[in-house]
């Protein structure tokens, strides 16, 4: 008999995190061999995701794994998949309404980190640094003057990282001041580097911190800071990133990046695959049956925790993309 088939819709193959998770899921599926698994790229675009989903449904897949970006139409999207006779794993995206999970018990699961955590981690670590270093207020205005480097404007991760990092700072009782407004760098290093260079030329003495919605942009900012004379002679500006890419970890190691929030792509892939296996076997999805460290199950929701990676816990950032365990 033909293997059960899985269609995976990733938000964007150009995204480092997704590319890694994707590769890992492919590796696991190949090694395990239970499923016939194929994936597609939504290219960061809702219409493309819609097209690809139709395509998958037409092919008559048994399972759909969807890294949904059509955030505000989630319930419809999921319901339409279920109505086509597929079971769904929502991957690394915002949750559907509770009714949707209730109405499709055993057919719809969510495997995700809480994206908001990534913002919170950056905010908390920055707050810690700020409170521990009185001279972190470089212009002495009593406010934390920060630059916020955004990915794509309407990308969910960008929105929550922006919002929750600042919220965490305020939570810690710190007054903040934004410099440069919304700086959109499309998650790209070169753009971040050029824009931070320009901001530095004007606000060199004011900037207290740089928050970037991913490591690439954080690294671009660090290059610009280096070119602007920072880091060399003890002048330091904290830079926060997300993803804990290999290059990001290096920067944390050499002290140029304060923190990077790790959303472990391996755990995401493992979690997705585990849920697929459990559904195929008709078993219940629980924290115990999923059995991945740092992952807990709450009904139909499988949560993976972000961890903040700093100099002190670098070893926790290590993961092996080529693993085939799950």
């Amino acid at each position: 008999a033909a293997k059960p088939s899985v269609g995976v819709l990733w938000y964007s193959f150009s995204d480092t995190f997704i590319a890694t998770a994707r590769q890992c899921l492919l590796n696991i599926a190949k090694a395990d061999g239970t499923f016939d698994l194929q994936d597609a790229d939504s290219m960061g675009d809702v219409p493309t995701q819609t097209n690809n989903l139709n395509n998958m449904l037409t092919q008559g897949r048994d399972y759909i794994v969807i890294n949904n970006i059509n955030d505000n139409d989630v319930d419809n999207v999921i319901q339409s998949i279920v109505d086509n006779g597929c079971k769904v794993v929502m991957a690394n995206c915002s949750a559907a309404s509770d009714e949707t999970y209730a109405a499709n018990e055993g057919k719809v699961f969510l495997v995700t980190s809480q994206a908001t955590q990534s913002g919170t981690i950056m905010g908390e670590k920055l707050a810690e640094y700020w409170l521990a270093n009185p001279d972190a207020d470089r212009n002495g205005n009593g406010k934390l003057d920060y630059i916020m480097l955004l990915g794509f404007q309407t990308h969910y991760d960008t929105i929550v990282r922006n919002e929750y990092s600042i919220a965490a700072l305020k939570e810690a009782g710190i007054e903040v001041n934004n410099i440069g407004g919304d700086i959109v760098c499309d998650y790209q290093r070169a753009q971040a580097q050029d824009k931070v260079a320009a901001l530095l030329a004007n606000y060199s003495d004011d900037i207290d911190a740089i928050i970037a919605c991913n490591d690439d942009m954080a690294l671009g900012a660090i290059e610009a800071l280096k070119a602007g004379g920072f880091f060399g002679d003890g002048t330091y500006i904290p830079v926060c990133g997300v993803d804990a890419t290999a290059a990001g970890q290096e920067a944390v190691a050499d002290g140029t990046m304060l923190v990077t929030a790790l959303n472990n792509p391996i755990k995401l892939s493992q979690g997705i695959y585990k849920v697929l296996k459990l559904m195929e076997a008709g078993e219940e999805v629980t924290t115990e049956s999923v059995d991945i460290e740092g992952v807990h199950v709450d009904g139909a929701k499988v949560w993976i925790s972000y961890i903040g990676i700093t100099k002190d816990n670098l070893e926790e950032a290590a993961y092996d993309v080529n693993t085939t365990d799950f």
């Binding site: 597609a40 819609t50 097209n51 690809n52 395509n55 505000n72 404007q153 309407t154 929105i159």
Partner: protein, 334 residues
């Protein structure tokens, strides 16, 4: 007799592309063990082509008149967002315009189209009156549109979130059907037919070809080149607006990123469909075919599960090979 030779040639030309498309379809069908040859696949492809057909039809007007238009994609995005904000449920928590009553479906549609026309008139005016080269003019407008869209969607309480809570009646426009044929397919086909009539049966259509074929000759023959330029951009804008509105209806959401690089796809479809980049040559059947070919490739390669990275490579190769074969038929004739 001469007119007959010409038609045969034209017919043959279209044939080459049809043949190529059929070859692609058969190949994909073969790989997918026949599953590709189903009504559902056909409907999917037409469905996905619909919005693109509208964008390409709009773009075609500008290309026929000998100009270029890079603003199409971002106009689609703006229209998607604007129509989305006008078609939200009363109950939606972060309704964009909290005070706004639920509007009939026609309102966001009309607003999108009118917005498109307005932007198109700007494009045309900048090109024809300010004499800014079309590439730069429409690139500039593209940036402005994206900026405006970003600012708009960033308005509180929405704060850059993808639009949600779209009215079911509006979404039906994008996903509903009559007798199994989706509305958007009908809209695209009807538009194509109307444009075909406009271009071949109406004096204005002929004038567009004349302006694109040789603007100087058109001018000395008393054609108001300025007016024609304005009109082509305005019609293009109208189609982009309609397309954006339908894209929102179809997906039930909208972000400022909608429509990204649709204009390049549209230009490519037009040229694949036989439009000359210099203007004056081309028509609806070719452009329609061009769009469908692109969508067959996109859909088909995903259908057979080719990895996205390989899809780029294969798609690039197919386009180049198809056109390289397609241009060959001119050889035999001259």
């Amino acid at each position: 007799m001469k007119s007959k030779t010409f038609d045969t040639k034209k017919f043959l030309m279209n044939n080459v592309l049809y043949v190529i498309m059929i070859v692609i379809i058969i190949t994909i069908a073969f790989i997918s063990k026949g599953r590709f040859l189903s009504m559902r696949v056909m409907r999917d492809i037409l469905n996905q082509s619909s919005v693109r057909v509208l964008v390409a039809l709009g773009c075609m007007f500008v290309i026929l008149s000998g100009q270029a238009d890079l603003s199409g994609g971002r106009m689609v995005g703006l229209a998607a967002v604007v129509s989305g904000t006008l078609a939200q449920q009363q109950t939606y928590a972060i309704k964009f315009w909290p005070g706004l009553p639920e509007l009939p479906v026609i309102v966001p549609v009309l607003v999108s189209i009118l917005l498109g026309v307005a932007v198109g008139l700007c494009n045309g005016w900048i090109v024809a009156k300010l004499r800014v080269p079309a590439f730069l003019a429409t690139l500039g407008v593209q940036m402005i549109l994206f900026g405006a869209n970003s600012l708009y969607i960033n308005k509180a309480p929405n704060n850059s979130q993808p639009l949600g809570g779209i009215l079911q009646s509006f979404k039906n426009l994008g996903s509903g059907n009559v007798a199994g044929i989706n509305y958007i397919i009908i809209i695209a086909v009807v538009s194509a037919v109307l444009v075909h009539i406009l271009l071949t049966k109406i004096t204005m259509g002929k004038q567009i070809y004349a302006v694109g074929g040789n603007p100087e000759a058109a001018k000395v023959s008393g054609i108001n080149v300025f007016k024609i330029t304005l009109i082509t951009y305005a019609i293009a804008g109208a189609f982009y607006g309609l397309a954006g509105c339908l894209e929102c209806a179809r997906t039930g959401s909208a972000t400022s990123n909608y429509g990204l690089s649709y204009e390049l796809d549209a230009i490519a479809s037009c040229i694949v469909g036989g439009c000359s980049a210099g203007g004056g040559v081309g028509g609806v059947p070719g452009v329609f075919l061009g769009v469908v070919i692109f969508n067959v490739i996109n859909y088909g390669l995903t259908f057979i599960g080719l990895s996205s990275y390989w899809q780029y490579v294969v798609k690039g190769l197919i386009i180049i090979a198809a056109i390289a074969i397609d241009v060959r038929k001119y050889d035999r004739k001259s």
